[in-house]
Symmetry: none
Subunit: 229 residues, 2 copies
């Protein structure tokens, strides 16, 4: 079940849409004013937004652009509704950067189908791209690491190394295993590259670098919970 936000001026349409969405097992919230969108999105993080471009108070296009500018709603899929006459021929809804768009009049069933399609596309990718382990939040999609919610700039190699270590936070990762997974070395090579990168990683992680534990004579291990020491 997904949380869907419908922003439309016309209560008839909203109600009809909500009915069809409920039939598909989605939770649906309707707003009529563009300005109400932002507090709602921030608080409830909907999975998808259906946005009518014709809104009272604030232009729907402005609402859309503001949604895209905010990191909290940047990746939330948006389906745009519009009256055909409202759009110039040159600018289609998709060109605005929406995930899909529908021109009125449309069948509520079609909207529901398109919502399902967009959710299928986006949810699969988004849901698992972020992995949280203790103080660490690994964002695979953007190749970024957040440590205590603060972003940490990592090199590609550093990111892969950390990701590999974190992937299985119980197992000890052998030197040769890491060299294979991160560097792609297939045969055993004598190199200090791994040591150096572990060092650089620990540096960037600050005190949290202690979560990367050396297993003497074997390799390294990512430990969520540190020993008292």
């Amino acid at each position: 079940m997904s949380k869907i936000l419908v922003v439309d001026d016309e209560p008839d349409i909203s109600e009809l849409v909500a009915l069809h969405l409920a039939r598909d097992g989605h939770e649906c919230v309707c707003l009529t004013n563009g300005l109400e969108v932002f507090p709602y999105v921030t608080a409830h993080q909907p999975d998808l937004i259906v946005l009518d471009l014709m809104l009272p108070g604030q232009d729907g296009l402005t609402v859309f652009k503001r949604l895209r500018a905010d990191s909290r709603s940047r990746t939330t899929p948006v389906i745009i509704l519009t009256a055909r006459a409202q759009m110039s021929d040159r600018i289609s809804g998709l060109e605005l950067g929406a995930d899909d768009y529908l021109t009125k009049p449309f069948s509520p069933r079609e909207l529901a189908l398109r919502i399902s399609a967009v959710l299928r596309r986006t949810q699969r990718v988004q849901a698992v791209s972020e992995v949280k382990t203790g103080r660490f939040l690994l964002d695979r999609k953007n190749m970024k690491l957040f440590l205590d919610d603060a972003p940490v700039d990592l090199t590609t190699t550093e990111f892969k190394l950390l990701a590999t270590l974190m992937e299985n936070d119980k197992a000890v990762h052998t030197r040769s295993e890491l060299l294979r997974e991160v560097w792609g070395y297939s045969d055993e090579v004598a190199t200090r590259t791994l040591d150096t990168h572990v060092k650089r990683l620990r540096e960037k992680l600050g005190d949290a670098g202690r979560h990367i534990v050396t297993i003497r004579g074997t390799g390294y291990q990512f430990c969520v919970t540190l020993p008292d020491s």
Copy 2:
């Protein structure tokens, strides 16, 4: 249901294992010769391999190393079976880079349990880290792109650009949208960086670069199906 390949010399063990695996709803194929492994793996891409180190014809260790050396089987989880006496004390199965290992004698039930555990660990990450679209296979975990099954080396930026474009293969991605998602630019900046990277990306993709379509005056779009032109 997962596809599991069991490589073991002893038919009794194989059969018992297969029985237990079937009970857990897994599809199971048994091979007795190490050399048969590679054509099978290439053709059927099993989700997990159970490998006995004691094999006729070819040493199990050699088979394992060759599996790890091939990009098509590099990330396929392997569980190693071994007689205790066979292994020196210093080198445990895990140190070889296996995902798990069991020493004989073992209960088939335990093997089935360990298989489930390994699958749980690896599949969640693997299954969704790879996104296939047409000729393109995007491997988020290893930050690699496969084009027609051939690996393509991409820069971090290039990868993110392509991933962003592919993420929604129907929508047109605005220039400002791409600059925001890939480069993190929040305000509109006049820059040719995007153009340059699109060019570099197209170059590396060869004829498949045509899948990145220019939308004049707006941005770019990833098209799975090309127009005849």
